[in-house]
């Protein structure tokens, strides 16, 4: 406990820093993946290749990507945010794409047939119905990058990773444990929070049954 008290300033600081990294990259990730997912749902033949490509990027170890990003962007938050954004894209992209493509074709045909324009069909029918799936993707993205963000300490971006790396360098278990546990708690908590959000955002008509 004395450890916590002594380092509380640092711990709080790095926790906030971690949240900032995750928050920014999630936001960027969503800004890329949702429009891209919508676009891909209109270009289904291209979608296969794009999703495969994005999937491949995802399999490159985070450390390698981070290294490359550091060469290009230097040290600090920038390379970390770029890499984390890349990791945030895939789950959200895939879920946006499947969410939209799985909307009942009968709904889309009748939307068109009764006179909705393409954009109205998207906004009034497709997106509301795909929303639970998109938020599900967001949840996966966030949980992913909370854990990947611990690597960001390596490029000087700070965050809970800093505590862990400090601990590893100085054989100080308390640092390692604090960083690891806080990251885990943050992942669980945000998972639960977004789950709640998903429930709220699911149109009521999709929840009620006869």
């Amino acid at each position: 406990m004395t450890f916590m008290a002594k380092n509380s300033g640092l711990i709080i600081n790095e926790t906030l820093n971690h949240m900032r990294l995750v928050g920014i990259s999630t936001l960027f990730g969503l800004m890329i993946s949702v429009p891209l997912g919508i676009l891909l749902s209109r270009r289904r033949r291209a979608a296969k290749y794009v999703l495969a490509l994005v999937g491949t990027v995802q399999t490159i170890p985070g450390l390698v990507l981070l290294g490359f990003a550091m060469i290009v962007f230097g040290i600090g938050s920038k390379p970390a945010i770029v890499v984390l954004t890349l990791y945030a894209i895939l789950p959200a992209l895939r879920n946006t794409y499947t969410g939209i493509t799985e909307v009942d074709p009968g709904c889309i045909e009748s939307a068109k047939g009764i006179g909705m324009s393409n954009i109205q069909t998207l906004l009034k029918v497709e997106l509301p119905l795909a929303l639970p799936s998109i938020v599900g993707g967001l949840r996966m993205s966030v949980i992913y990058i909370i854990s990947w963000a611990t690597l960001a300490g390596l490029v000087g971006a700070g965050g809970l990773g800093d505590l862990i790396w400090t601990g590893l360098a100085t054989y100080e278990n308390n640092f390692i444990l604090t960083g690891a546990i806080l990251a885990a708690v943050m992942a669980l908590a945000s998972g639960a929070l977004i789950g709640l959000l998903q429930n709220i955002m699911t149109p009521r008509g999709l929840k009620v049954r006869r």
């Binding site: 009942d104 074709p105 009968g106 709904c107 889309i108 045909e109 009748s110 939307a111 068109k112 047939g113 009764i114 006179g115 909705m116 324009s117 109205q120 009034k124 029918v125 509301p128 119905l129 149109p203 009521r204 008509g205 999709l206 009620v208 049954r209 006869r210």
Partner: protein
Amino acid sequence: MIQFENVCKRYGKATVIDDLSLTVEEGQFVVLIGPSGCGKTTTLKMINRLIEPDKGRIFVNGSDITRVNAVALRRTIGYVIQQIGLFPNMTVGQNISVVPKLLRYTNAQCDEITRSLLQLVDMDYDVYAHKYPSELSGGQQQRIGVLRALAASPPIVLMDEPFGALDPITREALQEEIKKIQRKLKKTIIFVTHDMDEALRLADTIVFMNGGRVVQIASPEEMLRNPKEDIIKNFMGKRISKVDYNSLLAADIMRASVLKVHKTKLTLECVDLMNRRQVNTLLVVDDDERFLGIVTIDDIKKHGRAGKEIGDLVSTETSVIGAGDSAKEAFERLVDSRSGYVVVKHPNDTVAGLITKTSMVKAMAEAMWGEQE
């Protein structure tokens, strides 16, 4: 009101619509019917431009539909599909008022429309307007699907097998309702189905299509009476009353395969034959196949002697009728006859067949219910 002029549509090499010309009058209930792939759905979807023709022109109310914005056009034409396609994220009320909302009606107007339409199908506004589609039965969902199509009072409504996925009882109820609504609101309805019963029940005019072409356009009555081609007859199946009961002949109700023997056949041979074929009567004919009379097993038992020709035992006390005589006449003879059968002769006295009670009943059943399997 709706006019197709030499419309063609191709998908790759396959011609789906082949030089289609068709006119639908205002206020008509027109049913497009035909085997799958005949182009009926394509025809329907070309009216609201969900499918664009390759060649030819389509007019709605005199104006070429390619000159109208497709989205604007669709808002003036109702559309109902088999998959129903209600928006699950919207309530019944919101679903019904989708098109009025697109047309920027006020909330009060939308509400008014929802109320009056729900009333049209006997669904209580207070009970149903705020429910979601998933809370309704299939039949109720499709009622709402129909109401959604009617909401902005389009003069034309397109329906693509709207009741195809419903159970028979619900389907019949909805057929009745849509017919009622059509009469009441004087809509022009174009309705696609592959179910001839449905077509006959609903249509003012049936358009029978095959291979992208119109085979016949006729009222249900006319199509039943004079189906133009075999394919329509097959579609009509048992419903065609090809039989005019009064013109039915004895030949139509007889059994043509009968056991005939030549008069020189010997007695024991005949007994053997009757045994093998499980009959108790033989028709005896002469050299020219002319009917001489009958021999029953009883006659043979009483008078027959081995080695004698069967011709000697022939009895002529049997009901005989000409093949060209009326079936009604034959029926009366059959009822009167002691033996339970009437022999049918050609004009040249040769045997045409035999009318038994079984053949009579079979013929009557066919006349009433169509060819039996």
